[in-house]
């Protein structure tokens, strides 16, 4: 049983389910807190797994949440008795109830003493004040999804399942909702299972990553570890990269920049809204990292970091090589052409300068 490191395992799921020609066969342990991203191609069984955990699909197997069995050989806790919340992929608001009554639906059905979040709090967090009396069909897609999230939270769940909550939305609507999800993640000390096709959401929200392929778990581990594995095309093509934990060390008010320190160096990046000592997450894509043998200062790239080559892997495409590098304990990926690798004589152990063109702050 693969146990995710760095967190006491609290959700243990072992399922075997058949749906027509498809078979789900998983054995998972998830940590007590934080977001676990479920990633995998269309049809790999992500939705099926969430449905098994929720009890919406009766699979064979076992499910144990913080020491309590919700399902084992002879026992099956009915869906409505499981203290979980489920945000469905498609619109799932009750069309016959106003937003307010949609929100109250689950809220009214739990005991007042187990409520961890007040009605007004949820409304405020997700910015729903203005729409409480409207019917769901008068809402935009983004608003509908926010209501669904608030409704789920109001049941004070001990496990939160979210199935592509943002898939149907455009870029701007996503940007509206993501901060709420990040806040969620910080405030609730419960496991969140988050299905998404978007590498961006994975990088931004996830602490752990589970990779599904044709009904089987092919990888499971902490985000930084899983992402820097170059054997696994986790986030393929344009999206390969690493996520780094860092701390704001210095602000440059004039240029609206900040310097983020991590073990192995520091990076300058757009620093609006950050304060010194903020803990932040940085995403550095392999395509944004080029390598140089010397330190060149007369160019626009601000971030030059000494590092050494760890490993090289031919990427899926011919002529392209993925290079794993290390600056102290921090790993980076860099995607280069094979010719550049040859020109610079890159081999494991070689000292180089990382030229980082672009860094994204995730939270």
């Amino acid at each position: 049983m693969p146990v995710l490191e760095g967190a006491k395992s609290t959700l243990e799921a072992r399922f075997k389910a058949s749906l027509g020609a498809f078979t789900l066969d998983v054995d998972l342990s998830l940590p007590a807190k934080g977001v676990t991203a479920l990633f995998g191609h269309s049809g790999s069984g992500k939705t099926t797994l969430l449905r098994c955990i929720a009890g919406l699909h009766k699979a064979q197997g076992e499910l144990n949440v913080s020491g309590e069995y919700w399902q084992h050989a002879e026992y099956f806790l009915p869906v409505h008795q499981r203290p979980l919340a489920y945000v469905f992929q498609e619109a799932s608001l009750f069309p016959h109830l106003t937003v307010k009554r949609n929100l109250e639906y689950g809220f009214k059905r739990i005991l007042p003493q187990v409520r961890q979040i007040s009605f007004d709090q949820a409304v405020q967090w997700l910015g729903l004040e203005a729409m409480l009396d409207r019917m769901p069909d008068k809402l935009s897609g983004g608003e509908r999804q926010r209501v669904a999230i608030a409704r789920a939270l109001l049941t004070s769940p001990r496990v939160l399942l979210m199935d592509e909550p943002l898939a149907a939305l455009d870029h701007r609507s996503k940007q509206e909702i993501l901060p709420y999800l990040e806040r969620l993640h910080e405030m609730l000390s419960i496991p969140i299972l988050y299905v998404t096709h978007s590498p961006d959401e994975v990088a931004r929200l996830a602490d752990h990553l589970v990779l599904l392929d044709r009904g089987k778990v092919i990888a499971s581990g902490s985000l930084s570890e899983t992402l820097s594995r170059i054997d696994l095309p986790v986030l393929v093509g344009e999206d390969a990269g690493v996520v780094i934990q860092a701390r704001v060390a210095e602000l440059d008010a004039r240029w609206h920049l900040c310097r983020a320190e991590f073990d192995g160096g520091s990076l300058w990046l757009p620093g609006d809204g950050l304060k010194v000592n903020d803990k932040i997450r940085l995403r550095v894509l392999a395509r944004d990292v080029s390598l140089a043998l010397d330190k060149h200062e007369d160019q626009s790239m601000l971030n030059l970091i000494p590092a050494s080559v760890v490993e090289l892997a031919d990427n899926a495409r011919p002529g392209v090589v993925l290079v794993k590098l290390k600056a102290q304990s921090t790993h980076f990926l860099s995607r280069l052409t094979a010719r550049s690798v040859d020109k610079l004589h890159l081999i494991p152990g070689k000292k180089v300068w990382l030229q980082v063109k672009s860094v994204a702050v995730l939270e």
């Binding site: 409505h80 498609e90 799932s92 016959h96 639906y105 059905r109 739990i110 409704r151 049941t155």
Partner: protein, 224 residues
């Protein structure tokens, strides 16, 4: 001649109580039929549709045998100290419920089948028990089906006749409903009175239906 309102009230009372009762009897059956995959599903569906096939008078005849003192049901009701049902208002209700059942079950079954399971799953994850989600989700979503079911059941009970005549015994003030009154007039060639009653009944029913449809249309538009 003074107009006798008794049959009118009796008819409305019968149709009202029958429709009301049918909603309670028909809804669980329709729900079960819409959701089950049990092998008995199709046979039960066929049995529910059967009362339609027998002519009302004949159905009334068999109900008379069944509910009468020697009938199976009659023996039970007598043993319970309820007496027998024929010639009572309660008997009329029982017969009408039985007779109009298919008109309630079919539209409700269609409505339940059309709504799928997604909303029920959502309600389950929001801690609603099976009964709870049935009442707070499935039923409200099936509103057009309930509307059709109620209209068919009410109208059919108002117009019902053979069964009523047979089970009711045409007792003024107790089982002599409007349809029987009109029938009496036609039989005795009192066409004037028949026209009057029938015309009034049509106008009244038309008005009720129209109001019902309009209110429903309004709710429908604003509600979804």
């Amino acid at each position: 001649m003074e107009f006798d309102w008794t049959p009118v009230w009796l008819t409305l009372k019968l149709a009202g109580i029958t429709t009301f009762t049918l909603m309670f009897v028909g809804t669980p059956i329709a729900w079960w039929l819409a959701r089950t995959t049990h092998w008995l599903k199709q046979p039960v569906a066929a049995v529910v549709a059967l009362p339609l096939v027998l002519p009302p008078t004949v159905l009334g005849f068999y109900l008379l045998l069944l509910l009468g003192p020697q009938g199976m049901v009659g023996e039970i009701t007598q043993a319970l100290g309820l007496g027998t049902l024929p010639f009572t208002f309660a008997g009329l209700v029982v017969a009408s419920v039985f007779y109009s059942l298919p008109f309630v079950v079919q539209p409700l079954q269609n409505a339940f089948e059309a709504q799928g399971v997604r909303m029920l799953e959502v309600a389950a994850t929001l801690r609603a028990s099976p009964l709870d989600r049935f009442l707070t989700v499935a039923v409200p979503l099936a509103r057009p089906g309930f509307m059709t079911a109620a209209v068919l059941a009410f109208a059919h009970t108002v117009g019902e006749f053979g069964v009523v005549l047979m089970i009711g015994g045409n007792i003024p003030g107790e089982t002599k409903v409007l349809s029987v009154a009109i029938y009496d007039h036609v039989e005795t060639l009192e066409y004037e009175q028949a026209h009057l009653l029938a015309g009034g009944m049509l106008v009244f029913s038309f008005t009720v239906l129209l109001v019902l449809y309009m209110v429903n249309g309004r709710l429908h538009r604003s509600g979804r």
